[in-house]
Amino acid sequence: MKYTRLAVAGLAAAVTVIGVSPLVSPATAQAPAVTTFTPPASTYTPPRTPWGDPDLMGVWDYQTVIRMQRPMDLAGKARFASDAEYLAWAKVNAPNRDSMGAGVGAYNEFWNERNFVKNLNTSLIVDPPDGRYPPLTPQAEQRRKEILSKAREYASWEDYHALERCLATHTPNGPQAYNSGTYIMQSPGWIMIVRERLDTRIIPLDGRPHIGSNIRQWNGDSVGRWEGSMLVVETTNFTDKQRMGGASGTSVPAGIPFGNFKVTEYFVPVSAERIEYYATVEDPTTWTRPWTFNLPWERDRDYRILEYACHEGNIALGNSMRGERVLEAEAAKKGEAGK
């Protein structure tokens, strides 16, 4: 990897690559299965806001050691048998990073200041039941090859991920290594989800239609409703410029545009301190069937959301592009000299 590219990868604010997922295989010729995901119900009833909605207000966090896809060596095992088994696995497999200091060498960070939410599932993906992404369609596989081969040139800012451009993290709210504190705020007819890093999502609950199809947004357009104590949010109108993978932190295959996604999120409060969050991603032009991941959210009463002035200090992006041009020029000179 070129050095300046690493500098910009750094700007992807504490994104932990929690397991680079291997390429998903293209679909073989078979009828796509149509499945709908129903989240497990909960008997917990949260307190109510003054106007009668379930009250989820406050700061939540969802750091996790669990990867999106079930590791191959855990195939067939959907859950850890006990807390002890989960902890033992986490100690060995938690993401590595340096602490502050002069490059002492990576160490396992499970036991330091980060706040991993306990999760006994062996993968975040809970549907399909094998805990792995469904196959890509042949057209999606072809498209991602084209996107990735072009993006490697870093010809333009468009070849960088939305995070490196300080535009968006991503919706659905996938895992994130740092600055992942997320504030849920509510008012009559609305709910707002503020991720500390870049994404503020404001969701009307009055049953209004989505915005017009010519308006495409990095976090899409969301409309929500309460079903009992469960919040259901449907999001469409994503822009194709938003892509999975790269620095997204969800360790998904890179080069998949969001433009045709329909995302359905389910927020299921299961206790005063925990929400089971599920997100179903549907795009028949990309995957042969929808898939769903489950990411538990936990309250963090000590976390105060701060400003995240990403773009204001984003010199790294220009630095990276400048570096790419320098390297290209040097390579061209060598090519000339060799003639």
Partner: protein
């Protein structure tokens, strides 16, 4: 009144309740209140003036970027500053004049001496209030959040015991309280990186702003902001303006993630130029 008209009136009332109007008042009379008796500031609001061009009196002027013609020109407007011009210290006024000359860039690139709005940098307070964009207020008894359509500008304003800022920020550190029917916000810990308008009015990191949001009716707020900065001004001074509830059907904030629209301006020189052989 006939039965059908009564039924129609009841149906209309049901619809009004369904769109979230409290039963505590009739539309267009009095102010809305939340269940704990405070004025209800929830909703989507926007200023409707030209303060963002220039807080002081300003007539029509062409843009510094002549190619934009009348689209980029400065619209005229009365001062929103109470009691005369902004009371700059003499040496600080010279800097304002320099800012004014430099407001629009003359070349491509990422310039730090121009109006930060050109760069899509966070606007600070009070400028975020009178940008030409709506913002949405979320209110609970414990906290008020304001989310601005512009970029990712947002503020958390806890109500109650004030806390100290852990960091410096563009949007400042806000503490809120109620003073009768007025919501008062005390804002400190600013960086010095924001301007107060497009005409070079600015401040130092010593800026201290006190905002007051007072309902005038169900669809109007009066917004006042007192600006204090002993490094820049000889005394505190105040601006005021009405804020209007956005009444458009299904109105919602849309994405104005303007870091994207300035990538060409900031990064064009680093873009790969494909050689044609």
């Amino acid at each position: 009144m006939s039965i059908t008209k009564i039924a129609g009136a009841v149906a209309f009332g049901v619809v009004c309740l369904a769109v979230g109007w409290s039963t505590a008042q009739t539309p267009d009379q009095g102010i809305r209140r939340t269940r704990d008796g405070k004025p209800d500031l929830n909703g989507i609001w926007q200023a409707m003036n030209t303060a963002n061009y220039n807080l002081e009196d300003h007539g029509t002027e062409p843009s510094q970027v002549i190619l934009t013609g009348a689209v980029g020109a400065v619209f005229p407007g009365d001062s929103v500053v109470e009691g005369g011009p902004i009371p700059y210290r003499p040496e600080a006024l010279a800097r304002r004049e320099q800012n004014r000359k430099n407001a629009m860039p003359k070349t491509m690139g990422r310039h730090l001496d121009i109006d930060p709005e050109v760069n899509c940098f966070l606007p600070g307070v009070p400028r975020a209030t009178y940008l030409p964009h709506p913002f949405q207020i979320f209110q609970s008894p414990e906290v008020v959040w304001i989310s601005y359509q512009y970029s990712y500008a947002r503020r958390e304003i806890p109500i109650g015991k004030p806390t100290e800022a852990p960091i410096e920020s563009y949007m400042g550190w806000s503490n809120g309280r109620w003073d009768g029917d007025t919501f008062v916000v005390d804002v400190t810990a600013f960086t010095d990186q924001t301007w107060l308008d497009r005409s070079g009015n600015y401040h130092s990191e010593a800026l201290h702003v006190v905002e007051r949001y007072t309902p005038l009716g169900p669809n109007h707020l009066m917004y006042e902001a007192t600006i204090e900065d002993p490094k820049t001004f000889t005394r505190p001074w105040r601006i005021s303006m009405p804020l209007y509830r956005r009444m458009d059907r299904n109105v919602r904030l849309l994405e104005y993630k303007c870091p994207e629209v300035v990538e060409e301006l900031h990064l064009q020189e680093f873009r790969k130029v494909t050689q044609v052989r």
